[in-house]
Amino acid sequence: MRIFIIYIIAAILLNVSVFVVGGLFYKVRDVIKESIVITSLPVSKGLNEIQRLIDEYLILISVQKENEQLKKELTKCLAGCKNRENKTKVQQAQFSFKGNFDSTTIYLRTAKELNLKKNYCFVLEDNMHLVGIVKEKIKNHIYMAYTVFNPSFVADVKIVGDDNQTFRALYMGNEYSPKVEFLDPNVNVKKEDKVYTSGEMGIFPPNLFIGTVKKVKDVNGYYKVAFVDIKRSFFNKWKVLIVCRKRS
């Protein structure tokens, strides 16, 4: 009991001393608070590190989820694009062909009935390489077309060189030596440069890949001719996408 009385008196004295010497009390308080902060610093730092790691992990999880979501959306979108017939400018088709590439045109027979119109382009489904263009509908399944191997096939193209320099010219189809004609004699076209449609004439959609340059020939200093190498793999798989080029 005596101890309690001593403690009560001590507490009362402390209360009184706060009013009498307040400045000293605030100094003591600051020292104690400072010591608490210093003491808790190691654990505080450790906990903050743990929190940082947890946050990083959560961000990683959320990014992964987002990526998966985007992937799903993309797949859905591509499937949607392929499935919507006659509603979009892209549709799937499968051709068998008759005729040879020496002639002006080639005849195409579609696997199923498609309402294709004049100047619809068709590109390879897997890599979007340009194959040809529909010229005329003969019957329900049969179309007359030009391909990049027919001599009558002409397209406005650009050759993309180093530093994304582009040189515009005309592409002319041929089964064995398709070429880009009328290149400016001063342009620096090299082997392995890529040939794309420019789309400026409004017939072909822009940026469709045709082939790569395999040889460049200077025609008496008037202009240059670039011979183009085109992958011929699609002879076996006439599975293409029809791309409508119409701008108007």
Binding site: A11, V18, R29, I32, T39, S40, V43
Partner: protein
């Protein structure tokens, strides 16, 4: 000379106890407040751990609860010295329950931890999981403090045995 030696030892033990309890309580409060800001967590842990010092045979005449009560008053109540007496009274109640009424120490401390958890839950509208966490951490850190204090303070019973 023996008396002086024992007094010096007791003072040294008191200082070691003070530092140990101070650090342990601050770290525990830091962990609690890191998870969720819980009011009065530091004074509560100081009170629990300082009370534990009085439950061993080598008592310190309630000096630890008083000192930590003063610290809690300075930190929490900003100059009104009430908790210093409150800590001493609480320590005496626990001392009475454990030593006189011979109630299991763990049950007593678990009960007070539960009371604090309920107080936090009802008075400050903290989520239930926070209250449970405070209860669990309070009890665990008291167990740790009890173990450390038993290492520092020599029980007369064990010494005599």
């Amino acid at each position: 000379m023996e008396g002086v030696d024992s007094l010096q030892k007791k003072i040294l033990k008191g200082i070691i106890l003070f530092i140990t309890i101070f650090i342990l309580s601050i770290e525990s409060a830091e962990i609690v407040n890191f998870v969720y800001l819980v009011p009065f967590s530091l004074p509560f842990f100081l009170m629990l751990n300082s009370t534990e010092t009085e439950l061993h045979s080598e008592n310190f005449n309630f000096i630890m609860p008083f000192v930590f009560g003063v610290i809690s008053d300075i930190v929490t109540l900003k100059g009104i010295f009430v908790l210093s007496i409150g800590f001493v009274v609480f320590s005496y109640i626990v001392f009475y329950l454990v030593k006189i009424m011979a109630i299991n120490k763990e049950r007593v401390f678990a009960f007070f931890c539960l009371v604090y958890a309920i107080f936090v839950f009802l008075a400050f509208n903290t989520p239930l999981w926070v209250s449970l966490f405070v209860f669990a951490l309070g009890f665990l850190q008291w167990k740790l403090a009890s173990f450390i204090i038993s290492l520092i303070v020599t029980d007369k019973h064990s010494g005599e045995a």
